[in-house]
């Protein structure tokens, strides 16, 4: 159909007839494949809607243009090749679309996303559109740097093996002076945490300018390191208004001997890739806080799923990414979180529809991205956290450290003891899912900070239904607690 003269008659023609729908298309190894959840407007044929998505995310405009004929236009057209109803969701369809690799600039998340989530998300014939997952071909992956450090090298640099890393975000998020802020960092690190973290909105405000914070935090980090004999770190947030400002802050962090800096997702894909390259050049671990993602990842009908964001961030090149806790205060269905964690940590991610993973993904040697679990978690949930999230994860207990009744050091110690005792029990072959509370209670007999933590937070859970769940399970699951 694409080559007949009628195809190029001036006027408007259904997208499906313009070459954007090809049910016989067999995707090439080198194709980028996207699966979208489409909700066509009433009366719009789902296949035409899928073809329209393919068209609008590749070469099409609303009307026929003769200038297509100056190009090998078939190759540049994305092809919708499969449209299936979403189980249990009337009016929604999964639409699989293949894109030739030459549609994209090498090593550029900005270019990839300008096509895939560009104009198409505002397209009127659709009520809603959600990018569920993508298969990135090895040939394209190899044009990305990936995480500057990765899980393996991060652990070797920190000399920390066999257990999740422990962190906390300094609280209150806003208002502390630099000197008071550094106090929290020192207490938490000396008490047993590996990392403390700036929050996403700590940049350089009137109550605390960035240079002052960096100076006090590095005093805290080094003092805690000397007190424990361990490598310690504080994620210095270098997020700022311009790249020049961010480079200046990151360079200062490096000059002060910090092993890690952080950025926020809201700085944008290009800035993230620039910082990834800076981090690789400067032997720095790069932490990413996913500030802002909930605006487009949480609702199932419209936006971009977080598993896609995680994939893009592994390609763009960050070392840490907040990826959900299952049991904490923030959104996170256990199955969906498992899928996201596998995208971060696997060498080869297997398709797993129950976890929301639509494709096999060969990571082609791209380094592994350490997921970070934070938000409303505490020592009493340690057995659940380890069961759900495994070992290669940073567990961040902000309130669960700083809010401890006996002080910040005690809070940190409670978390570290709970963690070590649970890993030890797991390795000994004990059933930590069922025996977890008992294992913690036994340790609390000799560790009074842990006892106080368990007493304080024993009844705290956040059992709300998740909104972002996998579609291939009969009912949405709820975090067990």
């Amino acid at each position: 159909m694409g080559s007949t003269p009628n195809r190029y008659k001036s006027g408007v023609m259904p997208y499906a007839q313009m070459g954007y729908w090809d049910p016989d298309y067999d995707p090439k190894e080198t194709d980028v494949i996207a699966v979208f959840r489409i909700s066509p407007q009433d009366g719009v044929d789902p296949i035409e809607a899928a073809a329209a998505v393919a068209g609008e995310s590749s070469t099409a405009t609303w009307t026929v243009v003769w200038t297509d004929r100056l190009t090998a236009c078939d190759a540049y057209r994305a092809k919708a090749f499969r449209v299936v109803p979403v189980p249990g969701a009337p009016g929604q369809y999964f639409s699989y679309i293949a894109y030739d690799i030459d549609l994209f600039e090498e090593g550029s998340i900005a270019n990839l996303t300008a096509s895939i989530i560009g104009n198409v998300f505002g397209f009127k014939p659709l009520k809603a559109l959600r990018l569920e997952d993508m298969r990135i071909p090895v040939a394209y992956l190899k044009t990305f740097q990936g995480p500057p450090t990765g899980i393996v090298v991060e652990r070797e640099r920190l000399d920390k093996f066999g257990r999740p890393l422990l962190g906390a975000t300094t609280k209150p998020k806003l208002g502390l002076s630099s000197k008071n802020y550094g106090r929290v960092v020192y207490e938490a690190l000396k008490g047993g945490l590996d990392f403390v973290k700036d929050d996403e909105n700590i940049n350089s405000q009137p109550f605390m300018h960035w240079r002052d914070r960096f100076l006090y935090c590095m005093e805290a980090v080094n003092k805690a390191s000397a007190a424990t004999g361990e490598v310690k770190g504080h994620y210095l947030n270098v997020t700022a208004a311009t790249m020049e400002d961010m480079y200046e802050r990151a360079d200062f962090a490096k000059q002060l001997g910090s092993c890690i800096v952080m950025i926020d997702l809201v700085i944008g894909y290009t800035a993230i890739q620039s910082m990834a390259k800076w981090a690789r050049r400067n032997d720095m671990i790069l932490h990413l806080h996913r500030a802002g993602h909930g605006t487009y990842t949480r609702q199932k009908a419209h936006g971009v799923s977080f598993r896609v964001i995680a994939k893009w961030m592994r390609m763009a090149g960050v070392d840490h990414i907040h990826a959900g806790t299952v049991v904490g205060k923030l959104e996170g269905d256990p199955n969906v979180i498992k899928g996201i964690y596998s995208i971060c940590r696997d060498s080869f991610t297997k398709q797993n529809l129950e976890h929301g993973v639509f494709f096999d993904q060969d990571w082609a040697g791209l380094r592994k991205l350490m997921p970070v679990a934070s938000g409303g978690i505490h020592a009493g949930q340690m057995h659940q956290l380890i069961t759900y999230l495994g070992e290669d994860v940073v567990l961040q207990f902000g309130g669960g450290t700083i809010g401890h009744p006996d002080g910040i050091q005690a809070g940190a110690t409670a978390n570290r003891v709970a963690l070590e005792v649970m890993i030890k029990a797991r390795n000994e072959g004990r059933d930590i899912w069922n025996e977890g509370p008992q294992i913690l209670a036994e340790a609390a007999k000799w560790c009074s900070p842990l006892r106080a933590a368990l007493d304080t937070w024993k009844d705290v859970t956040f059992n709300y239904q998740s909104t972002d769940t996998a579609d291939f399970v009969p009912t949405p699951t709820m975090a067990e607690a």
């Binding site: 070797e156 093996f161 590095m218 080094n222 004999g229 005792v421 890993i423 000994e428």
Partner: protein
């Protein structure tokens, strides 16, 4: 002070039965056990002395415990750790590392502050014990 490097340093010192259980776990994962010791526990001293090569062909925790005991006997006043190495593609690194022997007293570290311009301080961590010559640090 108590140096808290290693996977289990916040717990009471592991008994031999507990050490053996962790080695069993590591062997069950297909990891190779190595024993290392040092009298220079600086946090960035990543190369402790190897008590022989990692035991790639060993499948029995008792064999590894024999090496732990022999190392303790030869170097009773040093830090000794058990490492487990994973040769699986994508890891190829240490997967577990925990201390199984420490000196009777641990004097800890001095934080040296070298004040430079603009309120900046360059920090150096020095082990008090490592100020004595090698081999005489924890006598």
């Amino acid at each position: 002070m108590r140096i808290t490097q290693g996977t289990f340093s916040f717990l009471p010192d592991l008994t031999d039965t507990e050490v053996s259980a962790q080695i069993d776990y590591a062997l069950a994962q297909g990891w190779a056990i190595g024993v290392e010791y040092t009298d220079d526990p600086h946090p960035r001293n990543c190369y402790w002395e190897m008590w022989g090569n990692p035991m790639f062909d060993l499948r029995d925790a008792a064999g590894a415990m024999t090496e732990v005991h022999a190392c303790r006997k030869a170097h009773p006043h040093t830090y000794i750790r058990v490492n487990a190495f994973d040769a699986t593609r994508g890891f190829e690194t240490t997967r577990l590392s925990f201390i199984v022997n420490r000196p009777a007293t641990e004097p800890g570290f001095l934080l040296k502050r070298h004040e430079v311009g603009g309120r900046q301080i360059q920090y150096t961590i020095e082990s008090y014990a490592a100020q004595a010559p090698e081999g005489r640090r924890y006598e």
